[in-house]
């Protein structure tokens, strides 16, 4: 049961105030569920740090504050490549509340935005640490131990067609993921260089599909390559069974949805 709510002026202070009896709350869309159900810590820690709501462009990248909401991303002029991802999260009210930082910590089947971050190879700045930002894959693997996230640095694709996102859900337009897929396929002279493909709702956290990446790398995005990529879609993934879909079903459809996404990206 919650005994107190603390609001700290900076994220670093909030970090210092954390402890085993505390939960950090950003948009609260997940934390408040637990608070309502009475199954959470005794202290809520928040931060009113204005940096958390910042979106800063820098060269070929963008730094997104952990407290930026999905709604803010959906309407930002320079983040059109991320708008479809942000718009896929929850319904309108959820998007007005849900933050980028919270999405990195959202348990299965949530975390659609984190899937896109993983595919883009984002880096994460942790509050109160002067060390270089950490690769997102590490953060996703170690969430729970990582501390508070201050911001995410995201490379911006050179061509809009280099990045694609797909979410399969049972309810439209709002609905939780049966699975989601993000693909970042930078191309040089028609060949893919440094493919990154990530799946959501196909494991305990967003997972990179290395087998797919290996198939795509160095190839052009033609029908044969797409077919081969779809064949290895589930390699290394570990989809759970939940009320939305079984392990079997998720394995069965992963390749189909990957194929659809890649075909859409190939059409440009």
């Amino acid at each position: 049961m919650i005994q107190s709510v603390e609001t700290h002026a900076t994220i670093a202070e909030a970090q210092r105030a954390m402890g085993a009896d505390a939960i950090y709350m950003a948009g609260g869309t997940l934390v408040m569920r637990d608070v309502n159900a009475g199954v959470t810590a005794t202290r809520i820690v928040r931060s009113s740090d204005p940096v958390l709501a910042d979106i800063r462009l820098s060269g070929d990248g963008v730094t997104i504050g952990a407290g930026v909401t999905m709604a803010m991303i959906a309407v930002h002029r320079d983040l059109t490549f991320l708008a479809p991802v942000a718009r896929s999260v929850g319904g309108p009210q959820i998007r007005n509340m849900a933050t980028v930082g919270g999405n990195l910590f959202a348990p299965h089947p949530y975390g659609d935005f984190a899937v896109a971050m993983l595919a883009l190879g984002a880096r994460v700045s942790v509050a109160g640490q002067s060390a270089a930002p950490r690769p997102i894959a590490d953060v996703l693997r170690e969430r729970g131990r990582i501390g508070l996230v201050a911001s995410v640095q995201v490379p911006r694709p050179q061509a809009p067609a280099d990045f694609g996102f797909l979410k399969a859900s049972r309810i439209k337009p709002k609905g939780v993921s049966v699975l989601s897929i993000a693909a970042y396929l930078p191309r040089q002279g028609g060949r893919i260089r440094g493919a990154r493909v990530a799946f959501g709702a196909m494991g305990p956290m967003p997972l990179q599909a290395s087998a797919v990446e290996r198939v795509l790398d160095g190839q052009s995005l033609d029908a044969a390559t797409i077919t081969r990529a779809a064949q290895v879609a589930v390699e290394g993934l570990d989809p759970p069974t939940d009320p939305l879909a079984t392990t079997w079903y998720r394995r069965e459809v992963a390749g189909v949805h990957l194929k659809r996404l890649l075909e859409r990206m190939a059409r440009g």
């Binding site: 049961m1 919650i2 005994q3 107190s4 709510v5 609001t7 709350m25 609260g28 869309t29 408040m32 569920r33 608070v35 309502n36 159900a37 809520i44 928040r46 709604a71 929850g90 319904g91 309108p92 009210q93 959820i94 007005n96 509340m97 337009p173 709002k174």
Partner: protein, 158 residues
């Protein structure tokens, strides 16, 4: 446990009340402040019956910490009418049979109002999108969509 005093603006009027630690805005508005128009349907963010706007943006009151509205403007369905004059959306909901049990209606109206405030002439798809976070178990949505479109066109009846 210390309660927190909260001063905020509800439907245009300044209000003050105390929140329990961890209390959500829905319970705070209903039991603390006495505005019973937002409804509890799930307490999990899935039904939208508790939808209110905070500084013009729709939020789910059940997932909002009461403290977070300090100094902000909250609007609920209870504040849609001006005196005895109903908001055009309310008229349109009445004329288009856009409610049966009526439990989802306050939240629907708030989502619809937030849409029309920023987009006075929405397409059907935009209306569907705008109410996609609100579940209605009775009407089947069509009359609700028609009512919102009708209100946007300035006519009560679709």
């Amino acid at each position: 446990m210390a309660k927190t005093p909260i001063v905020f603006v509800l439907n245009g009027a300044e209000r003050a009340s105390f929140a329990e630690p961890g209390q959500n805005l829905l319970e705070f508005l209903r039991r603390g402040v006495g505005d019973l128009s937002p409804k509890y349907g799930c307490g999990q963010g899935t039904c939208g019956a508790c939808t209110v706007t905070i500084d013009g943006q729709t939020h789910l009151a059940c997932l909002t910490l009461a403290e977070s509205v300090t100094g902000r403007r909250v609007q609920t369905a209870a504040g849609l009418a001006t005196g005895a004059t109903l908001h055009p959306l309310q008229e349109a909901f009445m004329e288009n049979f856009a409610a049966q049990c009526g439990y989802c209606t306050p939240g629907m109206l708030i989502s619809a109002k937030a849409l029309l405030d920023r987009n006075p002439n929405p397409s059907r798809e935009e209306v569907v999108e705008a109410i996609s976070g609100n579940i209605c178990r009775c009407t089947g949505y069509e009359p609700i969509i028609e009512a919102i479109l009708a209100a946007a066109k300035g006519r009560a009846r679709a």
